[in-house]
Each structure stands twice: as C-alpha cells, then as structure tokens.
C-alpha cells in the first residue's frame, strides 16, 4: 500500500473526465486520472457513442445499397460476417482509446486503473485493477463517474435474451425478432442498426411519441421512415410482464390509458429506458457532496459540489451528453487552475444519430411553449433543397426559432441526413446571438444541405428563393 499526493484527482475517464484531466494538465496542474478501463474513454468510447456510430455507419451503407436499386444500381443481398463487423467496431474503439492513452501519457498524467472511493474531502482509496490498494490525497477532485442503464424490475429475470445498450453493442447475434423497450435516442439508434442487419425490430414506448424531448415536427420525419423500416411501433404502451420461454422471450404489454393486454414473442430485448447516475459506492458520505432529489450530484455553475474541494461533471450531475460533459470538464479544470470560468452555454446541441438524423440546439418549440414565450418559427423543407434531392432524401426540414422582437435566433432544429453536422452552425448562431438577417446574409456553399440554414433565415422574411411563403412586413 502506498500513499501519494496529487493536485488534481479525476475519477472516471469518460469524455468528461479525460477532457478535464487533459485541460488541467495543459494548465500546468499535476493530474491523476482514475478509471476501471485500460485506457481513458469511458462509456462514450468503449460502450456508447463511438461503437454505436461505427455500427450506424455500416447500417447506412446497407440501407443505401438497398435503396440504390431505385437509381438503377442493384447489389446482391449483403453477406454479413458478424465477427468481422464486431472486430471492425472493436478496432475503432481500440484505436480511439489507445490514442487517448497516448495523449494522456504525453501530458504526464498519472493514469491509475482501478476503482476510487473517497475517504474524506481530500483523500481517496483506490482498489487497483491489478490487486492491492493505493491511498491518494488531492487538492481538488473531479467526480466524473458517469451513468449506467436503468433496469426495470420486470426485466430483472436473468435472461441472456435481455440486453442493455452495452450488450447490444457487443453484437451477440442478429436476432430474428428484436424488441426495443424505450423509444429514446439509444433505443432507436441501435434499433436501426439491428434493422439494417436484418432483424424485425419492434419498439414499445410509454409516452405518446418517440424521442420525447424532441420537437414533434422533427421527430415526425424520423417516425415516418421508421414506420416503413420497423415491424411495429407501439406508443403509449407499457410492458407488464416478461418471461423467457427457452425458445424465445414472451413480452406482455398493454396501453397506458387502459385496455387489453397482449403477449408477443421475441428473440431478444434491448432495454433502453434511460440511465442512472453512478453515485453509489464512492464514499461520498465521507465528504460534503450533496445529491439532488433526483439522485444527481448537486453542483454550482462552476461545477463545484457542496464540498469545495470536489467538482462533478457529466452524467453524474445529469448532463447526459458527452459534449456537455467535456465542456464541463474544461470549466472545472479552469476553475481549479484559478480561472473565473463557469458553465454558461446558451445552446447545447442534441443529436439523434438515426437515419434521418435529428438535431437541435438552444430553445425548442417545446421549451417556448412550456415557458409561454412568444416565438416565430421559420421552416425550410428539404424538398426545396437541391442537394437533398440529389441524394433522394427530401424528407428533411430545417427550422429557426426566432425572438420576433429582436429577430434573434434562439434555437435551431434540423431533421434529415447529416443534421448532426449541420447543427454546429446553429450552435454558433445561437451562441453569437446572431439575428436571422446575419445568417441570411452569410453566403452558404451551393449545393449543400447547409444552404437550408440560410434559406430558412430568408424564409423568415418570406424571401427564400426556393419556397413561396406569405411575406412578412
């Protein structure tokens, strides 16, 4: 057992923790980064964003190959070697996480593989991966322990047929019939992967719509495509029973509003109803760290917890997005280095990496309605976009949510292939407090999907060249 000292201890090497570590090191602080995995990366790189995007890339290729027959190009049925596909995904993960390991070393960050627990406001005990334990005292710590999938009691039946997102990314097989429980981002992304690989995919969702936080006009674009891809989408439906019959898994569900229940048989279930923060078994009770009523770690704008020496970022405080966690990591690192930083974005982008993608940032129509705030919305349908038409994908839409008083852009929403890339311009517009006219006056390259931003801005004043709309004064 050894006792060591570090200026900054970062617990959790995900996109929050490793970015905090890298920034703190770049600001001249002595940093120890602690994680269970071999390299930094966390859920995002090992079991989340990155592997799922590798698989979605393949799914997109499969879909386009099938659709190509409409353009006069016909491929044979694809042959899918699941082991090779898995190996490709694993190579992507290994490459990215290995790279992070290198970057961490290059910054002289001490990387400790193990599980850390607080033993006081400025001390940790680490159960080392290779056995043994280490005491570590620190000036400041960052809690970046992330989250894990929620398991509903009904599904807690120790059946190999029930997977969470981590299990699904392991590609155990391509089940003939797959049920997605939870029509949120993770479920639909993986649902489309399995659908493209050949599964008959069904979704049950308790609320009355897919992707609950998204604006309905955007979700509608995705839902329309999913309806033609998936075997069934069951909204306002709750699962009441699950049994593994040996040859399959029987799922009973009923409408949330009341009605007859029915039982359906699947080969696998993907449970994706949400994630819960990892706050247990961290020794938080030996510190002043407080949790909110919903179980997240309570922090201030600087991401400092109630214990002044401890910061917390990412999923553990409910941020739930890798890029938000990274930004919070930067804020925390800067504050620890004595800078007057705070987490104060005006636009956090959300992206659903399905096909079509959905993306939004800043104010949504839903938010505006909830706040009782007057807005005007300018929409540009992709049917009027040359580039979308060349891709035979004219189902998208780009919209600007505008403060009518100042004509400032408060939010942007996009549905369509590539929406996740396009939203970055929306983030910039909202953060820079751009007016509709600013975007309209920026020359956008032709022919691209990015033109839809400019045209939506022009459409606000009824001046888009490619759509006709009632003119505003």
């Amino acid at each position: 057992m050894s006792a060591d000292k570090t200026q900054i201890a970062i617990i959790g090497g995900g996109p929050g923790g490793y970015v905090a570590a890298f920034r703190a090191a770049d600001l001249g602080l002595d940093v120890t980064l602690i994680d269970l995995d071999e390299n930094p990366g966390g859920v995002c790189l090992y079991r989340g964003c990155i592997p799922s995007k590798a698989l979605l890339h393949v799914a997109k290729l499969l879909n386009e190959a099938r659709e190509a027959s409409a353009w006069g190009v016909t491929f044979g049925e694809p042959k899918i070697d699941l082991d090779q596909l898995r190996a490709y995904k694993d190579r992507v993960v290994a490459k990215m996480t290995g790279g992070l390991g290198q970057l961490s070393k290059a910054r002289k960050i001490t990387y400790v593989r193990g599980r850390a627990r607080f033993t006081g406001p400025q001390t940790l005990k680490i159960d080392l991966h290779g056995g043994g334990e280490q005491q570590l005292s620190f000036d400041h710590a960052v809690l970046a322990t992330g989250s894990r999938p929620i398991v509903l009691p009904a599904f807690d039946i120790a059946s190999e047929r029930i997977m969470d997102s981590t299990g699904a990314l392991e590609l155990p097989d391509v089940p003939e019939r797959l049920l997605i429980v939870g029509g949120g981002i993770i479920g639909l992304e993986l649902g489309q992967v399995y659908c493209a690989l050949g599964s008959a995919v069904s979704v049950v969702e308790m609320t009355d719509g897919l992707i609950p936080p998204g604006d309905r006009d955007l979700v509608k674009v995705l839902a329309k495509r999913l309806e033609s891809q998936f075997a069934g989408i069951h909204l306002s439906t709750k699962v009441t029973g699950v049994t593994d019959s040996g040859s399959g898994i029987d799922v009973t569900w009923e409408p949330t509003g009341g009605g007859d229940s029915s039982t359906h048989t699947f080969d696998r279930i993907l449970l994706s109803i949400g994630r819960r923060p990892n706050t247990e078994d961290l020794g938080l009770e030996t510190t002043g760290v407080q949790l909110t009523q919903r179980g997240f770690v309570e922090v201030d704008l600087q991401r400092r917890t109630a214990e002044p020496s401890i910061f917390a970022i990412g999923d553990v405080i409910g941020s739930a997005l890798a890029h938000t966690a990274s930004h919070e990591g930067i804020v925390a690192a800067e504050v620890m280095a004595g800078q007057r930083s705070a987490f104060e974005p005006n636009a956090i982008p959300s992206v659903v990496y399905t096909d079509p993608e959905l993306a939004w940032c800043g104010l949504t129509e839903k938010d505006a309605e909830a706040q009782g705030r007057t807005i005007k919305v300018a929409r540009f349908p992709w049917a009027a976009s040359g580039r979308a038409t060349t891709q035979d994908r004219s189902d998208g839409v780009t919209k600007l949510i505008v403060d009518p008083e100042t004509e400032r852009i408060l939010g942007v929403g996009i549905a369509g292939p590539g929406a996740g890339e396009l939203i970055a311009e929306g983030v910039l517009a909202v953060e820079m407090a751009a007016l509709v006219r600013d975007v309209a006056l920026c020359i956008h390259p032709h022919p691209t999907l990015s033109e839809t931003m400019m045209e939506a801005a022009e459409a606000y004043h009824g001046l888009s060249p490619h759509i006709t709309a009632p003119r505003r004064k």
């Binding site: 200026q7 001249g28 602080l29 000036d139 400041h140 201030d300 704008l301 600087q302 400092r304 002044p308 620890m336 280095a337 004595g338 800078q339 007057r340 930083s341 705070a342 104060e344 974005p345 005006n346 800043g362 706040q371 705030r373 403060d403 100042t406 004509e407 400032r408 408060l410 909202v430 953060e431 820079m432 407090a433 007016l435 006219r437 600013d438």
Partner: protein
C-alpha cells in the same frame, strides 16, 4: 508562510486599482497564475503569482488601490517557505510549540490576519485586515501597547477608527511586541503592517480572532438629546467571499452576447445580463462590457460623492489652518452629498402642544428613574414615531430605483442622531415598537453614552428604518433635516417653548414643541407627509394613550 507582493509592473506604473481578486483563501496557487486584475493608467492587467502554494490570507479587496511592493496575499508555500526571509528570521527564534498553520478566518466579524510562521513561533506580522467593501483605511486613534510588552492572545494592540466606529485590533497570538509600525494619528491602509510580535506560545490555533468593538457597556447615563442637522448611516457590506460566482438561475432570455464576451464579463466581475448591448438585436459586444465596467467603477469611486470645486487661496485674506478629514467627516460629507443630490426633499412643519405630556413625563419619569434611566422627550418621541411608522408603512421603507420597487420593512429600528466630539453619529434602537418607554429610555441612555465615548460598534449604527434628530436641547424654532438614505424620512425636533394659546376660547400658556419632517417625495406624497406628522403631534398631545405602553 510567504508574502506575495505586487511586483514591479514596469512602464513607471506604481499603483493600480484592483478590479478583481482571482483567488480566495484555501486556493492552490501555482507560479505565474493570475491572482488579481489591476487597472492601471494604461490597461487592465492580470498580475501573476511569483509563488506556488496555498493562499492563507487575502489582504487586498476589489476596488482598492494597490501599490507596487504592497503585500497582497499570504501564501503557505509548504517546504519552499524555508527559503523566504520570514523563515530565515524565524530560525533565530528558539523553538516554540507547533500550532495549526491553517488560518482560514470567517469573513465576519473582522478577522485579523496572521503573517509569519505561526506554526513554529517566531515573529508574527500583524497587518490591518480587510474590513469590508469600500473601507480602505482606518485612523489609528490609540496605541495600546509598547515595544517589549507581553501580550495575551486577543489583547488589544491598537484602536482604529473605521468609518464611524472605533475598533480594537487584537493580537493574533500571545507574544512580545517587537515593533510598532504605526503612530497615533496615522491613517492605516488595509494590509498595512501594524505591529510585529514574537509569538512565545501559540499552543492553540491562531485561527480567526475578532476585533472587539466595545469591551464594557456603560451604565445608563444622560440620555441622548441634540445633534447637528442630519445624520448619516454607516453601512458595511459583507466581506466578499472570494471568486465563486453566485449560482443564479439562468435567465429565461439568454443574454445576447457571444461566449467570449460572456467570459470576459465574468472575468472582470460584470453581471453580463445587466449590460446594455449596443449591437443589432441588443447584442452585447466586448466594448459594451468594458464600458459598463468602467461606468461602474466611476460611479463606485471612493470620493465620487464629494465634488471638488476649485478653491481660492484663502491665505490671501488672513491666517488659515488645514485639517484633514476624519473618517467620520469624510463619510458624513459623502453620504449627505449623495442624499441631498439624489433625494427630492420636502420638509413639513407642525407643532404640538406638549403641556400635558410634560406633566405626565415628570410624573412617570420617577418610575423610569427607579429603573435607572431618565425619561426624556426623545424616548417618548421614539415611541410615538414607532406607532406612526406602523400606521404609515411608506415611511418605514426604502426605494429601489434600479428594480423600480418600494421595499417595506416589517421591523421598526429608529436611528437617533447623537452629537459627539468625532462628529455626528446615528446609533439605532431596534424594535422600538415592541419596547416600553422605560425600556427605550434605558437603552437610549446606554447607547448615547457608548456613542459619545466612541465605544459604539458599527453594527449598532446600521439597519435603521427612520431617524429622529432632536436639537431641542440646544435651541432653534425649526430646521430642515436631510433624509438619512436609504431611509425615506427623518423627524427633526426643535426647542419647545411656552406660548399663549387659545384653549376653549381662553388664552392659556401652553408648552409648544415644533416638529419638522423631511421626507423623500419620490415615495411619500405631500398629503401623507402632513398626515404622518399630524399623527405624531396627536400622539404627543394625548400622553395618556402612551401610559398603556409605558
């Protein structure tokens, strides 16, 4: 423990105004890390630390002037401290018991910083601590120790007049005084070295020691009566809690400023949502933030309230003598100028027949005397004023022009102007409405005595919601008091005299007392002013009503 001083800034810069203190007690410092933002004649600069370690004491506050060479922070540099000059001196001193070096004083009451290696004994530099925002210095009114004296921990070292209070600065630990760096009459600035002592025994933690305001309450004596025209409040805002911004809710309307502009605002301590943007759609530019910051500093300048009009050379016409402002005089001048120039004053006059009141006072006064106090007209006027404030809440209020709101106070604390050798002071009697006349009389006697002898604490001069200024003991037929902002009204009492008055058709000699009520016409209408004053007069004319509350 090492001192972090303001380094040479080059370009003939000798001082600057501290715009921001970037580190707080307990923060880790690394060399070259910015510790303060300083506005010099040329630019705003970040001053980097020349040391690494932990900040144990902040000796400079936002808004203060910092001179090159001035000690800004005390830093626990860990082992490296062995190299510092202080530590070298310490090495000569025989060993002393170890104590916790963890000096983390609470912001209030006034903490005294401990410089020097308290952990090992040896010389301890005692600097004038931060005393609150806007307080830059204090006048040394007395030195209570001499070189060679042994002092106990907490024993008073010097007496300082700060704003309108006199405070004692206690020894942070027991020891022998080795040097006194100030003289009686000096003005000591925050952070200035006051005394050095050899810590001979520091077995207990030297953490937060507090400045005792007034050691012995004086028993009841002559009651407060007269004072000069208008009193002024003394406000000591809480000591800044370091650089942690408040965790306020994000406003529903996101501020129209680019991220870089928002960051700049945070760094220079400007609340970006309060900046008026000049760009399209109200967009806030970097220039808008800087302009806003500049205007804040200009408005906040310590001497902004006193306009310096050019003076002729008076010595042309005869001998003159110049005397620097005392703290009391400076604050009085600032506060009254601000009140006079911002509050639209109206003064309402009235007079009341206190013949019966006087008879009652003599009678009831005996009872009060038994309780050890003297029943004065002021005590009775306070009681009546409290009743009037309950009936007319707009007089027990303050005005928030920025928020366009009136703040009504649910308490009734009344300031009483007291004439002292140091100038006009206004101690506050709390909860007058809930005290009997006997209780008020006792408290008034004590407070007036404490005030005259300079033993009144700053706290006891804050929080008033109305003021009474009684000049009747001196004379005069009427006067126009100046409202004691942020209060909205003040009652002036002039000398009562026997006047011929028709009572029920008969001419009678009656005791008539003239009253003057000045009020803030922004919140109080003329008719209400007249009603309020009439109500007070009626209260004084019907003393039997008071008997129930006596």
């Amino acid at each position: 423990m090492a001192e972090l001083k303001l380094p040479d800034l080059g370009e003939n810069i000798e001082a600057g105004e501290v715009i921001n203190v970037l580190v707080a007690v307990g923060d880790s410092l690394v060399e070259d890390q910015p510790v303060i933002e300083l506005e010099t004649d040329k630019a705003v600069i970040e001053v980097p630390s020349s040391l690494s370690g932990t900040v144990t004491k902040v000796l400079i506050a936002k808004g203060e002037q910092a001179q090159v060479g001035q000690v800004l922070f005390l830093v626990d540099a860990g082992d490296k401290a062995a190299d510092s000059t202080t530590a070298v001196v310490a090495a000569v001193i025989p060993e002393a018991p170890a104590a916790s070096p963890d000096v983390t004083p609470e912001p209030q009451p006034i903490p005294v910083p401990v410089a020097g290696p308290a952990a090992t004994g040896g010389p301890v530099d005692v600097h004038l601590p931060e005393l609150g925002e806007g307080i830059h210095s204090g006048d040394v009114v007395d030195i209570l120790v001499s070189v060679g004296d042994s002092v106990e921990e907490e024993q008073g070292l010097v007496e300082l007049e700060i704003d309108k209070g006199v405070v004692e600065m206690p020894a942070p630990s027991a020891g022998v005084i080795t040097a006194i760096h100030v003289q009686k009459g000096d003005r000591a600035s925050i952070g200035q070295l006051i005394v050095t002592l050899d810590a001979i025994s520091v077995a207990s933690s030297p953490a937060a020691t507090t400045v005792a305001a007034s050691p012995t309450p004086t028993p009841a004596a002559a009651p407060a009566t007269a004072s000069t025209a208008a009193p002024t409040p003394v406000q000591t805002p809480p000591v800044s809690a370091g650089n942690r911004p408040a965790n306020h809710e994000a406003s529903t309307r996101p501020v129209p400023a680019a991220p870089s502009v928002r960051r700049l605002a945070r760094e220079i301590g400007v609340e970006v949502s309060s900046v008026q943007g000049t760009g399209p759609g109200g967009r806030i530019s970097e220039a808008d933030v800087k302009g806003h910051s500049k205007s804040l500093h200009e408005n906040r300048g310590p001497h902004a309230a006193i306009s310096a009009t050019p003076l002729p050379d008076f010595s042309k016409w005869g001998d003159i003598e110049r005397e620097p402002f005392s703290n009391v005089r400076r604050i009085t001048a600032q506060r009254l100028t601000a009140s006079w120039s911002t509050i639209p004053h109206v003064t309402q006059f009235d007079q009341c027949d206190v013949t019966e009141l006087e008879a009652w006072r003599k009678d009831f006064g005996k009872q009060v005397e038994k309780a050890g106090a003297k029943l004065t007209p002021t005590a009775i006027i306070l009681k009546v004023a409290a009743a009037a404030l309950r009936k007319f809440p707009q007089f027990n209020a303050s005005i928030d022009m920025a928020g366009e709101e009136i703040i009504y106070k649910k308490y009734c604390h009344i300031g009483v102007a007291v004439d002292t050798k140091r100038g006009l002071l206004v101690p506050v009697i709390r909860d007058v409405d809930r005290k009997s006349i006997t209780e008020i009389s006792i408290e008034l006697g004590e407070v007036a005595e404490k005030t005259r002898t300079g033993k009144i604490a700053i706290d006891d001069m804050q929080g008033g919601s109305f003021t009474v200024s009684n000049l009747g003991g001196i004379g005069g037929t009427a006067f126009t008091p100046i409202v004691n902002a942020p209060e909205v009204a003040i009652l002036g009492v002039a000398r009562g005299s026997t006047q011929p008055v028709y009572v029920d058709g008969q001419l009678q000699p009656r005791m008539i007392m003239p009253l003057s009520l000045s009020y803030d016409h922004r919140v109080i209408d003329g008719a209400d002013g007249a009603r309020f004053l009439r109500y007070i007069c009626q209260g004084l004319e019907s003393p039997y009503l008071l008997a129930f509350g006596g």
